[in-house]
């Protein structure tokens, strides 16, 4: 029971991180914003009335936090430390690609987006994912693989 809860928490955390990445487009800032979002969410959780899903509520808080960080950064014109050349190139290649994946994920239709995120971020079993959507384990497995193929398709489109 508690393991499932931990995985759902991890899935939520990474879903927010993924969303924030599409806004701030920088891994370090995204981590900071996600951390901040969950702190704010814990503090104002009594104000959550359940009108939207939890993830929508969390993303609303994250959006605020992300834009205020962008405003702060543009106001003070902070320059990031420039690491040495090779490290910079590798980091940039990795960063750009995961950023691209997050942006593709952001635009994916449901239920592919949610199933993919639950599987990759939360490491939930297909059985559990099926139960969440009130469908079968096979449905979850097939949907996940279709989502993966969609991502590959769009990545190929981008690279053209």
């Amino acid at each position: 029971m508690s393991l499932d809860f931990e995985r759902l928490y991890r899935a939520y955390y990474m879903q927010v991180y993924s969303y924030v990445m599409t806004i701030v487009k920088d891994a370090a800032q995204a981590e900071e914003v996600t951390q901040d979002t969950f702190v704010r969410a814990m503090q104002s959780r009594s104000a959550y009335r359940g009108e939207a899903s939890e993830i929508t509520w969390l993303c609303a808080i994250a959006k605020n936090a992300a834009f205020s960080i962008l405003k702060r950064a543009s106001r003070t014109e902070e320059l990031k430390d420039v690491p040495d050349e090779n490290q910079f190139e590798d980091r940039l290649a990795d960063e750009v690609s995961t950023l691209m994946i997050h942006m593709i994920l952001h635009d994916m239709p449901e239920p592919y987006k949610e199933v993919f995120q639950l599987r990759v971020f939360g490491e939930l079993s297909f059985a559990k994912i099926g139960r969440i959507f009130e469908k079968t384990e096979s449905w979850a497995r097939v949907t996940y693989h279709r989502a993966r193929l969609k991502i590959q398709e769009r990545m190929e489109d981008y690279e053209k």
Binding site: Y13, M14, T34, S97, V120, V142, H145
Partner: protein, 332 residues
């Protein structure tokens, strides 16, 4: 150009490919897929695309890193607060150490300060330092440090009361704290479903230990003949209610009714029992004003209990008959 039939077959294969790749399809399906793949390059490339997990791997790596940093940050924060609190506590500790050393010969009251600060630390620093089972650790730490404090005070004030206060502290903290901490106690497999029974046994034993400790401490003459029967009867009432709640599987209304009946009879009759044990005549009790109130309240509660039992029996008969009629309607 594919004709319709082979396109349909490829569609079927594509539906099966995820199951095939994860190795969870039936033997027949596996043979069917492998057969088709030998002659269909499109589906083969589809399988290759399925096998390509580089994006998921990148995301998984990123996930590990982000969650790892998050966990590190959390641990650092709580550990920092814990260390700061511990550091703040050291200040009065060192001051008292110096004062005690300077004023007397040897340390005495310093140990009392030390153990009181340990009590404080057990509910502030300890929960922040342990990663899991915080409630259990805090309860045990608090109990142990409180016992240590009482022991130290007892030693340095030359008292003889330690065992008495120790037993009452253990009983009090068990009754208040075990319901919250019991879930975190490591138990062998057979006992994991009997946590409430174990807590009841533990509390009952320590209650009797307290009664015994009071007896030894006061050294009264009539103590045992009075204390033991009254404690037995009251404990039996508590156990009746517990067994009824935990082990008797009937409709909740019936259970609530049974508990109300026990409570009502107990309320009405307990004072009669106590007066009898104390050796007073029944006349003295009847002359006291409160017996009629206890009797009335007890009878009201017991009466309400009987009504609840009747309601519960009626309800469970109704749901029993409705479920049997619905099962007649849908034979499965």
């Amino acid at each position: 150009m594919k004709n319709n039939e082979s396109q349909n077959r490829c569609d079927m294969i594509r539906d099966l490919l995820p199951l095939y790749q994860d190795n969870v399809c039936s033997e027949g399906s596996r043979v069917f897929v492998e057969d088709h793949l030998k002659s269909c390059p499109d589906c083969r490339s589809e399988l290759a695309r399925l096998k390509n997990t580089c994006f998921e791997d990148r995301l998984t790596d990123e996930t590990k890193e982000v969650l790892g940093n998050h966990a590190k940050m959390e641990k650092r924060r709580t550990a920092t607060v814990g260390m700061i609190t511990a550091g703040v506590l050291m200040i009065p500790l060192i001051i008292c150490l110096i004062c005690n050393l300077v004023s007397g010969d040897g340390l005495d009251w310093f140990y009392i300060v030390l153990t009181s600060l340990m009590v404080f630390a057990s509910i502030t620093v300890l929960p922040m330092l342990v990663p899991r089972k915080k409630i259990l650790w805090t309860l045990c730490g608090f109990t142990a440090s409180l016992l240590l404090l009482l022991f130290t005070i007892n030693v340095y004030t030359h008292g003889t009361w330690f065992y008495l206060t120790a037993v009452s502290v253990i009983l009090g903290l068990s009754v208040a704290g075990l319901p919250f901490a019991a879930r975190q106690i490591p138990l062998p497999a057979g006992l994991r479903n009997q946590k409430s029974l174990l807590v009841m046994i533990w509390d009952t034993l320590w209650l009797f230990a307290l009664i015994a400790a009071c007896g030894f401490y006061t050294n009264g003459t009539d103590y045992w003949s009075v204390a033991v029967p009254i404690t037995l009867v009251c404990t039996a009432a508590a156990w009746l209610i517990f067994i009824c709640l935990r082990y008797i599987r009937v409709h909740p209304l019936i259970r609530a009714g049974m508990i109300a009946v026990f409570t009502g009879c107990f309320t009405a009759g307990i004072n009669f029992f106590i007066y009898w044990i104390l050796g007073e005549s029944v006349q003295t009790y009847l002359l006291a004003q409160d017996w009629i109130y206890n009797l009335i309240i007890g009878m009201v509660i017991a009466g309400a209990g009987l009504i609840l039992i009747a309601l519960g029996i009626w309800r469970s008969l109704k749901s029993h008959s409705s479920s049997s009629t619905s099962s007649k309607a849908n034979p499965s």
